[in-house]
Structure formats: structure tokens, C-alpha cells
Assembly symmetry: D2
Homo-oligomer: 109 residues x 4
């Protein structure tokens, strides 16, 4: 998956529909959390075990919600000048410092 | 950014810390929406215009929150057997049907 | 609105439908954030001004989402042994210390 | 807990700090979902059982997050002209129709 290309396709899709005025980072953040919650909804009444053993229809539905969150996330980055790959590398390095390996999981999770 | 490689790195990171028992899709969905809301928090008191003109410190902060949401999203996909690239292509095709081009934006957004 | 009475009615409603096993605080927290996001969805593409001038149908819809969030919130409190009225008084006192009056709004909001 | 009185106190608190320009329903909805997610964060790594047996410190923390969500919810209602008590009664009646008693819980939850 080519992030920059996907961002370009999302930009074209929005432009073709006249959506640019709506797609401020503020509004996109709201739309993103709405989709994030739709993903949560899939799991809200499931046990931990059930969440690990989804049937095909639920897995397909989950794929749609993952895609929706991801697409809004990439649009937020695109319109805010955030380079996603660099930001992820930087955050992975910060996490490695914040959560040293070798401690009990209950202390770090 | 190589999605499969990043998912592998996140798996190793979690395994090295003994986090696997915590990382059910249900729990990861909760963690993901928490990070999504931390991203929303950046914009909550900003005007639409301010959200389009972030300073460098805020852009860096935004990059961290985008990364956090993305990393949980990829872990959800990994542990649920969702192929992210295929799911995104499928959702883009569905969106092209759901939101035909050429209608007033106010009808489709 | 009598909070304790409403909590009693919600308990009876759930019991009559055999929902108790599902209504752990963890699951209720998930359901609550899903409803919170449905409330956010009402405003996601609206301008600040539009959000201040809702039409009747949208106001009715908003009332439904406010009710859904509130009802899950009261069930979380009920099942966790949190007294809502005391918790609110305590939080108001903490906020009065955290946000002293007389500072510029931009410093405290 | 007197809802109207609490809404009046929250209005005075905000006015004393010059916050009114920030407190549009759109912004308040964002702040509300941020607090809702902070409540979710309390439970994200807990099992269902652990979420039912909180220690005192966690219960106090939960009370703060419940209060934060509730206070934003009441401000949204106040600024949007939604009467909370009427909205809740209306929603309870709708739910009684939507979820008839006597069906298996798995069909209605």
C-alpha cells in the first residue's frame, strides 16, 4: 500500500465531489473518531474470546471500519503536512524508550 | 511504508513486553478509540481556520496521535486476519458507488 | 430528573431483557463512547455557526443521542458504585481550583 | 441532582472565565467524546471481571470521568435547547418499542 498514492486518490475523490470546504483537519478529526467508534461497536458486547474468533461477515465489516478510520487518518495527515512514515518511525522510537522490554507486562501495558 | 513489515515490528514489540494476553481485538479497539480522541483533543477548541494552520509543535503532536491510532489499527487488522490493502480497495469501490460524483456537495458529504 | 430512579428503571429494563451478563462496566464504557460518537456525527460537517442554529429535526435527533450517552453513563455509575451527584460536586470543586477565574480564556480553556 | 441548576452553575463557571466563544455545540461535542474516551481508557486493559471490581482509587477516577462527560453533555443540551428530562423519557419509550421484552438477549442487545 502506497500511502502517498492513496492520499492522492482520496484528494481526487473529494475534489470531484466538491468536498474540500468541509475537509478541515478539525472536521476530519470528528469524522475519524466517529468511524473509530463504529469499529468499537463491533466489539462492544463480545467477550475477549469472541473478539478473537470473528466470522467472515464480521471480518468484512471490520475491514470496512478499519478502512474508514485509515482513510480519514491519511486525509488529516495530508491536509496538516504530517509525513506519516516519519511520524510512525519517530513514535516507535519514543515507545521503545517509554516502555523498556523486560519489565512485568502489568507495569507497562 | 510497508504495512506487513510494520505489523511484524509491532508484534515483536508487544511480544518482547509480554503484552499478547492484553491485545485482543476488543481491547485494541478500545485503545484505538482512546488515541483517536486524543487526536480530536488537539482540535477541540480550535476554529476551522486554526485547524488548517498548525504550528510546528502542534504538527509534531498531531503526528504522534496519528501514529498511535494507525499502530492500533494495524494491530487490530493483524490479529483479526484483515488484509488492510484489500479492505481499503474494496471500501474505495463501495464509496465510489455510494457517493456518485457530480451531485451538490451538500447532498453527499 | 431523579437520577436514582432513572438508574432503577434502566436496571429493570435490562433485567427484563436478560441483558445483565453483557452490562459490565467495560462493555458499557464501549457502548457509551459509541453513542458519544453518534452525537459528534451530528456536528461533524457543520460550521460553528450551524451548530448553534439546529433545526427541529436535528434538535430531536440530538436529544436522542444525549439520552443514549446519559443512560449508559448512569448504568456505568450504577454498576461501579459511583454516586453521580457526589462525584459531580467533587469535580466542580476540582475544576474551580484548576481553572481560576480572571485569567485570559486562551490560557485556561 | 437538579439538572437545570447544574446547567446554570456550568454557565456561570464558563462565563466567569470568558469561555463562551469556545462553547459551541460542535466544540462541546468534541470535548465530550474526549472525556468519554478517557473513561474508556480506565477499562481498556481490564478483563470483564476486573471492570466489575474496581479499587477505591479507580472508582474515584471513574467518578471524575463520569462527571466530565455529564457536564459537557448538559452544556450541549443547554446551548442547543434540548430539555434533557423530556428527551430521556422519549428515548425510554422508543427503546421499549425497539427492544421488546421476552426475546433472547442475543437478539436484542
Amino acid at each position: 500500500m502506497d500511502i502517498a498514492l492513496l492520499q492522492q486518490r482520496l484528494r481526487t475523490f473529494a475534489n470531484d465531489r466538491g468536498w474540500e470546504p468541509y475537509l478541515t483537519p478539525k472536521n476530519l478529526a470528528m469524522a475519524m473518531v466517529v468511524e473509530a467508534a463504529e469499529l468499537v461497536e463491533i466489539f462492544q458486547w463480545k467477550t475477549a474470546e469472541e473478539s478473537l474468533a470473528l466470522d467472515d461477515a464480521t471480518r468484512t465489516h471490520l475491514g470496512e471500519e478499519i478502512s474508514d478510520v485509515l482513510m480519514y487518518l491519511l486525509q488529516i495527515a495530508d491536509r496538516s503536512g504530517v509525513d506519516v512514515a516519519s511520524a510512525v518511525e519517530r513514535k516507535l522510537a519514543l515507545n521503545a524508550i517509554k516502555y523498556p522490554a523486560g519489565l512485568p507486562a502489568s507495569k507497562t501495558v
